[in-house]
Assembly symmetry: C2
Homo-oligomer: 480 residues x 2
Amino acid sequence: MLLRPPSAADRFRALLDDEWVIDAPLERLLYGRDGSIAEGEAGLVVLPETRQEVSACVRLAAELGMAVVPRGSGTGLAGGAVPLEGALVLALSRMTRIVEIDEDVPCAWVEPGVLNLDLSEAVRHLGLHYAPDPSSQAACSIGGNVSTNAGGPHCLKYGVTSEHVLGLEVVLAAGEVLALGGPAPDAPGYDLRGLVVGSEGTVGVVTEICVRLTPNPPAVYTALCDFASVRAAGEFVSAVIAEGVVPAAMEMMDEVMIAAVEQFVGAGLPLDAAAVVLVEADGSPADVARQAAVVQRVGRAHGARMIRVAADEEERALLWKARKSAFGAVARVAPNYYLHDCVVPRTRLVEVLEEIGRIAERHDLVIMNVFHAGDGNLHPLIAFDRRNADQVARVAAAGRDIIEACVAVGGVLSGEHGIGLEKRDYMPLTFNEDDLRAQACARDALDPAGRFNPHKVLPGAARCGEAVLEAGHLPEGTWL
Amino acid sequence: MLLRPPSAADRFRALLDDEWVIDAPLERLLYGRDGSIAEGEAGLVVLPETRQEVSACVRLAAELGMAVVPRGSGTGLAGGAVPLEGALVLALSRMTRIVEIDEDVPCAWVEPGVLNLDLSEAVRHLGLHYAPDPSSQAACSIGGNVSTNAGGPHCLKYGVTSEHVLGLEVVLAAGEVLALGGPAPDAPGYDLRGLVVGSEGTVGVVTEICVRLTPNPPAVYTALCDFASVRAAGEFVSAVIAEGVVPAAMEMMDEVMIAAVEQFVGAGLPLDAAAVVLVEADGSPADVARQAAVVQRVGRAHGARMIRVAADEEERALLWKARKSAFGAVARVAPNYYLHDCVVPRTRLVEVLEEIGRIAERHDLVIMNVFHAGDGNLHPLIAFDRRNADQVARVAAAGRDIIEACVAVGGVLSGEHGIGLEKRDYMPLTFNEDDLRAQACARDALDPAGRFNPHKVLPGAARCGEAVLEAGHLPEGTWL
């Protein structure tokens, strides 16, 4: 169902070359999806190339009364980029310029469509890289990373996206171009970057980003530790950190996930392990040697059956390929998956994993775990088949149970994937009415007419001044 | 002039014990100042002890139509805590509990009145400390640090306050208690912490803060490097960082400041140096040894006349005492000082310092420099005597020249002291109307009636929807 007037595409064709205004039904359907299981349909898709074009498209959308959904690569896992009710999709995949690199800070100004891994490749000759490294880093864009405040394995040591965004340029609903922050350590005035980073396209369109670049570490140690129980693996993770070591990454996979990944990648993972932990340490050679010694000693003390140390770059790349292919590997197990992203205190990891095991049993489902163990960011993945209605109902119920189990131990809904459509109605589990009202009012301060990506992030699509906990309208068929 | 009704004090005495409601004229005058040269007068001063009391006081102030100015220790250097037009001062100096320490994250929940250094002392036995270390750290409060997004010498390596604030509890104008963030790496929803950290009490009252704690480094190297020219000192700073070393701190003092400090502290500073740079490196012993070697080598290459390495904790403490006493030492030179806080790109440091020297000459003033050289955060300090009207006019003119010189090379108004009253009308130098409007609207989203600390931060006390660049009302006699 299209809410746009018949001439909308023509109006946008006056702003962009014809090929960058798409209204063919099939493509509108394709742009109606992202990496989640939510489904929508784009009213129209435009692909601007400059901030001026973005601004002009946003102004025209306002004039036509169309909602605007900014979109990066569409790898998002919570439905944040799914357009509803015939919204305009503003795809930023043509804005791929690295505008400026400042080696002195060091930082780079980039357009939102630059792919995460492409940025690191582009600064490799300077001995630098962009630290946040989602598993989808070969496909996901920096703009999408900003939108979801994305994480990645190395965020254990280096912090999530918000810690790497120094400045932003944002186009707001009236087409005005806002500059927020920059390379200086503490920009004066109100810091609105936090309102934009992680806002999933609901306050404006990010058209340029100043990201911190990180010096490549002189030495790296990567080891795969193999345990006979999830409990031993979890306790190993806590014990390493309790020794005062903060590894660059500490990633865990359980037995079911190991089997799926090994079949897919063939990295020589131990198929009889109950869990493996991939540990990486980086820094100066002396510092890495010290950390490696701690990993070895603590690993043995916690019953690691084998500690496989990557002998060279090739083996390191293979171990990481295994980790980062996990979600892809699941396609061999079942046609669909529903993924959660809770964060729990690291000390409660083991009990929550055990509870997730009981939830899987109770709902007769396959739940696989692959996650950032170092910072307690779980990714329980429920494999299922959408065509099986009974299974779908069990998936939804299990999803709610998982979230409640995480919140019960002091955890939060999402660590790095965002709230989008999928998790928005769970927000009241961790926020009260005052908290949600403040968030709604802050969003409305930048987007008073609710023009950008409606229905996302806040429950009931709450607006400032409304009763935020009331269940709100969600177009039918968009979700499970 | 008091705008409060005569019974206001009595109304507050129904909420707090008598002694915590102060309306004696002398004390109202004392609470009318902070560490800046701005002057105001408190209508009434209250000292609540709990969030419930804060909430009740805020509600009552709303009922009585009084503006509310939250206040920490009053060490602020930009007039942020100065009450105007008989506002209610809400002094938080009784809220000094360290509520909880979580060694696992590690982090601590503290009340806003906890002094910066007291927190580090309280966690010393755990091998931890609170990293941001303003020179006033023995007197300033964590709440005040949050309010100004305070920095300090060690923020070069460890980042300013906003990077250490994991969560916040804030009382808003209707008395509601808001929870923002927490120890999890990336809280879901809109991140409003940035709207509060650095907001100088203009959006609400912070009643509890979850701060990151930092492990004490196993090894520390501290050296005072002595240069015959400011240019050589400045180039030394850039060259060390260009070697890939990020020292914990790199602090610079010029000749005039060295003389003032040496007279005050007697730390054996070289009185014939044009500039000294205090360098600190920390980390593992091997890492520190490597950094120290770089400092020695680069220092010699840039003509350091002497590199004095602290032999023990006592000498290290003495060198830091010299640095941190700088503002106090100025009292011997002149009765008043007006301090700026610009940040310039590190590569432009030397030219800006030379320009500041010319500004001092042009206006016939003494300007001393002591600053965070590593991150380009200047603190040019103009010593003067308030009783000399002609001098005061020259101070104001020189202040404007300094700020314009910083902005001209791509710098910003303030690095860590905040905007407060003193710098608010300079905001349009770095922000355009759209930027300022967005800031005004975001602030109003949390404080729609403009109840908290009016006249601060934004030029012309701009409100959402108003023309923000219009010069606004500022009560007479509050500023220079």
